[in-house]
C-alpha cells in the first residue's frame, strides 16, 4: 500500500471540496499548522505521566476534534461537501471550558507569568500551546480574508474560538502536569 500519489508534485493540491489550490494558500497553511499542533499533542501524550488519565482522555478527544476542524478548513463555504462533515458548534467550546475549569480547581491561582517548562510532558504542552496560538493566528487571518470576500462558513469562526480556548486548556494542562509530577513551577522574575 503506497501513500504517495504524486498529484501535488507541481505545487498545487486538492481541497476536500475539490478545488485545486496552491500549497502555500492560506487554507492549506491553516490546516497544515493544525496538523503540526495535532502531532505535538501526540508528543505530549507520548511522555504523559501515569497519574494523569484525565488529561490523556481529554487530549485524545482534542486530537479527534482537530481532525473534525481540519476537514472544515479543507471545505469551501456552500460546497456540497459540507454535508459529509460533522457540525462544528459552540458546544465544542463549552466542552473545553468545562475541562479548563475542572483542571483549574486543582491549581493555585496565578497572577504572574510562569517560565514554560518543568516535567517533560508539561514542557511539551507549553510548546503545543504556542503552536496552537500560531494556528489561531492563521485561522484569524483566514476568517478575515474569507469574510471580506463573503465566503466565510460559520464553522470557521467556531474553530477560531475553539483554538483560543484550546491554548488556555493547554496552559492549564501544563500547570496540572507539573503539579501531578510534583514539579515546582517557576514564576517569571524580573531581572
Amino acid at each position: 500500500m503506497k501513500v504517495y500519489t504524486g498529484g501535488g508534485d507541481k505545487g498545487k493540491t486538492s481541497l476536500f471540496s475539490g478545488e485545486r489550490v496552491a500549497k502555500h494558500s492560506l487554507r492549506i497553511e491553516s490546516y497544515g499548522d493544525l496538523d503540526e499542533l495535532n502531532s505535538l499533542i501526540g508528543a505530549v501524550l507520548a511522555v504523559l505521566p501515569d497519574n494523569s488519565q484525565l488529561v490523556a482522555r481529554e487530549l485524545a478527544q482534542i486530537q479527534a476534534r482537530l481532525f473534525q476542524a481540519g476537514a472544515w478548513l479543507a471545505t469551501t463555504a456552500d460546497s456540497s461537501a459540507s454535508q459529509f462533515l460533522d457540525p462544528m458548534d459552540e458546544s465544542l467550546v463549552s466542552e473545553l471550558e468545562g475541562a479548563i475549569d475542572t483542571l483549574s480547581e486543582e491549581l493555585p491561582p496565578l497572577k504572574v507569568f510562569i517560565l514554560p517548562g518543568g516535567h517533560q510532558s508539561a514542557a511539551l504542552a507549553h510548546v503545543a500551546r504556542t503552536v496552537c496560538r500560531r494556528c489561531e493566528r492563521r485561522a484569524s487571518q483566514l476568517v478575515e480574508e474569507l469574510e471580506a470576500e463573503g465566503e466565510l462558513d460559520a464553522a470557521l469562526s467556531v474553530i477560531a474560538v475553539y483554538l483560543n480556548r484550546l491554548s488556555d486548556y493547554l496552559f492549564v494542562a501544563a500547570r496540572y502536569l507539573n503539579k501531578v509530577t510534583a514539579t515546582q513551577e517557576q514564576a517569571w522574575q524580573k531581572p
Binding site: 503506497k2 498529484g7 475539490g18 456540497s80
Partner: protein
C-alpha cells in the same frame, strides 16, 4: 448525512446470487441487498471472507434491488481469487459504504475519467441519473471497456481510449487511440468543468497535472488505487 451513510449503516451479511464474467480477468458479483441498506452512487464497501477483506465499488444503481460489484482478479489477490470460485448461495460479510467520489452539486459540466476497473463508480452514478458531459474510459483493448454498452448512452459524449497498438477500430467514432490523459491534454475543449477521476494513482497524477495546466479553475475529485 455522514451518519446515515456510515456508522448507523453497519455491517451486513449478503448472499452471492450470480457471477458474470466481463473479461478474462474481470467479473461481476450480484448479491442480495439487505433491507435498509443505503449508499450513494460511487461508494465502495469492504467485502470480507474470514480474515480477508478488500474494498469493492458498488456498480448497481441506487434504486436497484440487488447489489453488484466489479471484481478484478489480481494475480496476488487472495480475496479476488476466493470470490472467483465462491459457490453461488454463499454468504459474504459487507462493511458500511464509504468514499466521497459521489455526486457533488455543481453548476458546471462534468467530465468523468476512468481506467480499468475505475469505471465502477461511474456505472453506478450514471445509471442512478447522474448527468455528465464526457466519459473518458481507458483500457488497452476494446473488450476491457467494461459496461461500455450500458453507460455510453447515458452521457453526452462517450470516448473509449484504447492504448494497444492497432486499436484504431475502423468506423467507430467513439474510439480514441491513446491514453485518457492525452485526450484531456489535446482534445478536450476548454470549458468550465468538474473532473471525476478513478483508476490507478499514476493515471490520476498525470491527469491532475494536465488539468492544473489546461483547466486551472476546475474542481477535481478522485479515488485511486495501486
Amino acid at each position: 448525512m455522514a451518519e446515515t451513510l456510515t456508522s448507523s449503516n453497519g455491517d451486513h451479511w449478503i448472499t452471492l446470487e450470480e457471477r458474470r464474467q466481463l473479461s478474462g480477468e474481470v467479473f461481476e458479483l450480484c448479491c442480495t441487498r439487505p433491507a435498509g441498506f443505503h449508499f450513494l452512487a460511487g461508494q465502495h464497501v469492504g467485502l470480507r471472507i474470514g480474515q480477508l477483506e478488500r474494498d469493492y465499488t458498488i456498480v448497481s444503481a441506487r434504486q436497484e434491488p440487488r447489489l453488484r460489484f466489479l471484481v478484478e482478479q489480481l494475480e496476488a489477490g487472495l480475496l479476488s481469487s476466493r470470490l472467483a470460485s465462491l459457490a453461488l448461495g454463499s454468504s459474504l460479510e459487507m462493511g458500511p459504504p464509504r468514499g466521497y467520489l459521489v455526486e457533488r452539486a455543481t453548476a458546471r459540466q462534468r467530465v468523468l475519467v476512468a481506467t480499468g476497473s475505475g469505471i465502477a463508480p461511474f456505472v453506478s452514478m450514471l445509471s442512478s441519473g447522474f448527468q455528465a458531459r464526457y466519459l473518458l474510459q481507458g483500457a488497452r483493448r476494446p473488450d476491457q471497456l467494461y459496461y461500455r454498452r450500458q453507460v455510453s448512452p447515458l452521457v453526452d459524449n462517450y470516448v473509449g481510449c484504447l492504448t494497444a497498438p492497432g486499436c484504431l477500430a475502423k468506423g467507430k467514432g467513439w474510439v480514441y487511440p491513446g491514453q485518457v490523459t492525452a485526450y484531456i491534454d489535446q482534445l478536450l475543449p476548454v470549458e468550465d468543468y468538474d473532473f471525476y477521476l478513478c483508476g490507478k494513482w499514476e493515471m490520476i497524477r498525470q491527469a491532475t497535472h494536465i488539468i492544473d495546466r489546461r483547466f486551472p479553475e476546475a474542481k477535481v475529485f478522485s479515488e485511486g488505487f495501486y
